[in-house]
């Protein structure tokens, strides 16, 4: 496996080449949202310059081109996660919408009072709140797989948590707050042994590792485009075809129907049944372009470089006095959450910004994780394949600046 030419790659990301507050920008907030290569930007611009029209409707040329490009992107997504069929890929606004869709269309009709929904302590709010809403609507109970001080899932009680009342296990592939990679394949197989379906929130995983939904055997897999170098407002839901077939539509409207009369509406076939209204066509095409871009570089090579960055950054932070790394799981991807002794993360974020270092400070939409550690927030650096060792040095310099100011 040859190494990546990072400097050449960075030329594809024009936004990275700028100064912030007099320093070269070090963009280390990729877990919040990633930057977009010119290949994605230009694909979207070309679509609007040349092909823009509504999909699945007109017989005219532009509509056909738009439809072809939209459906070609669906095929790219299918290949990207190795789904069996295009019918199993539903375009959505992002992981959040996909989880809400599954909660309402798949789980809700099966729920009775006293049934259980199982999530984990590591989840992003997007994989907590839709289930809480569902519990309020149905009288079901939310159960939570606990976590350890290292930031790993504590699976010792999983056998009991997966029981005859459990109607779904919904768990993240990679923790956005701590970077923990969860052993989802094993968890899926344990859930399936008790006929419990599983949804995987892959928002934080797809930018960093190859995903094979058939190998995982998950029932649903959801992710957002904007964290994987595609535009905001587009994402995908993978669902096993037989499950999607049995589900009612999520929203009603145009494009999701075969025929409509005031007496009876016949729903469209998969996946269009779940895509009411004019979809985010440009976003979908941009997502396809992002997948092409990642594939051309090789996802395994991207992952290797990111792993090297994470290992180097972790070692450098561990070598500093007064730094506490939050989340020390054996298997981690891309994320380094930390505290600087005596300094609130929000102050860290401002001082970093003055040094051109962009990180996220806050609870990362994972307040239960913060509560577990008894902290209000962390500073979080998160890496993408276009980051460099020099940017890790900028991170370390920024930490020293904070410590100097707060000495």
């Amino acid at each position: 496996m040859s190494a990546l030419d990072i400097l050449a790659i960075r030329k594809d990301f024009p936004i990275l080449d700028q100064q912030v507050n007099g320093f070269d920008l070090a963009y280390l907030d990729n877990a919040a949202s990633s930057q977009k290569p010119v290949q994605v930007i230009e694909t979207i611009a070309d679509y609007y310059r040349q092909d823009n029209a509504n999909v699945h409707r007109g017989v005219h040329r532009l509509s056909q081109r738009a439809t072809d490009a939209y459906e070609a992107s669906r095929e790219k997504v299918r290949d990207f996660v190795n789904a069996k069929s295009d019918k199993e890929i539903v375009f959505v606004r992002g992981a959040t919408e996909a989880i809400n869709l599954v909660a309402q269309s798949f789980v809700r009709p099966q729920l009775n009072e006293g049934d259980e929904i199982l999530i984990s302590h590591l989840e992003h709010h997007a994989n907590i709140v839709p289930w809480q809403m569902l519990c309020e609507q149905t009288g079901a109970k939310l159960k939570v797989i606990p976590m350890t001080l290292q930031g790993e899932l504590d699976l010792s009680g999983l056998d009991d948590l997966l029981n005859e009342k459990t109607k779904i296990l919904a768990v993240g592939h990679v923790s956005n707050a701590l970077g923990t990679v969860n052993p989802i394949k094993d968890m899926i197989s344990k859930a399936h042994a008790k006929n419990i379906p599983v949804l995987i929130d892959g928002a934080q995983a797809v930018p960093h590792m190859a995903v094979d939904v058939q190998d995982l055997d998950c029932d649903f897999y959801v992710f957002s485009g904007h964290k994987m170098f595609a535009p905001t407002g587009i994402g995908a839901l993978y669902g096993k075809q037989d499950l999607l077939e049995d589900m009612s539509p999520w929203q009603g409207g145009g494009d999701m129907i075969l025929s409509v009369s005031f007496e009876k509406t016949q729903y469209n076939e998969l996946p269009y049944k779940f895509e009411a209204g004019t979809p985010n066509i440009a976003g979908s095409i941009g997502l396809g372009a992002a997948i092409d871009y990642m594939n051309a570089l090789g996802i395994d090579r991207l992952a290797k470089h990111e792993h090297d960055l994470l290992v180097a950054a972790t070692a450098k932070l561990e070598a500093l006095e007064g730094i506490r790394i939050i989340g020390t799981a054996k298997e981690k991807a891309s994320v380094l959450s930390f505290m600087i002794d005596g300094v609130h993360p929000h102050d860290v974020g401002t001082i970093f910004d003055q040094q051109g270092v962009a990180i996220r400070t806050g609870h990362h939409c994972a307040q239960p994780v913060m509560q577990f550690f008894g902290i209000p927030a962390t500073a979080r650096a998160s890496f993408a394949f276009y980051n460099t060792m020099e940017e890790i040095d900028a991170l370390v310099d920024a930490i020293k600046k904070v410590q100097e100011l707060f000495a």
């Binding site: 507050n21 609130h344 102050d347 910004d353 209000p376 100011l405 707060f406």
Partner: protein, 150 residues
């Protein structure tokens, strides 16, 4: 792009009040109190007031937050003690104006002038105003009340 100088934001007075917040305590005989919450950064604080008629006889706070929010709350308690509600409201307005970059007669602000550094850091204005919004809510209500900024 912010051109603010970090030393304008993190002035010595701010750092001192962050390290050693004044009036940082519970108040068992408080007759007004309010909770302040900034969900964006997780800052939470409680402001306690002991009002004697119209006069703020005592004011204290507890909670956790960034240096700016803790120092702002600490400075606020010092400034408000002994003031009437009307005087406190005027001060509240002056501080708010200063933080959002409006012209203010600095002689009316005294030590609170150091909070003006946040105006160059728009993302941090909410940190500095949280305690002020909270004390405002506490004065307005006799019950336990809460405010949220984000």
């Amino acid at each position: 792009m912010s051109n603010g100088d970090l030393r304008d934001l993190y002035q010595q007075v701010i750092m001192d009040h962050n390290k050693k917040p004044r009036n940082f305590r519970d108040m068992s005989d408080a007759n007004h109190l309010a909770h302040g919450n900034n969900p964006l950064c997780g800052d939470v604080l409680v402001v306690y007031l002991k009002m004697n008629d119209d006069v703020i006889e005592d004011v204290s706070f507890q909670g956790s937050g960034c240096a700016i929010s803790v120092a702002s709350a600490s400075l606020m308690t010092e400034a408000l003690k002994g003031k009437t509600m009307a005087e406190a409201e005027v001060l509240y307005e002056q501080v708010h104006k200063q933080m959002t970059g409006e012209d203010v007669d600095s002689s009316t602000l005294g030590k609170l002038e150091v909070l003006g550094g946040v105006k160059e850091f728009p993302a941090r204005v909410k940190c500095a105003t949280l305690s002020w919004h909270t004390v405002h809510a506490a004065m307005e209500s006799e019950q336990d009340t809460s405010v949220t900024t984000e």
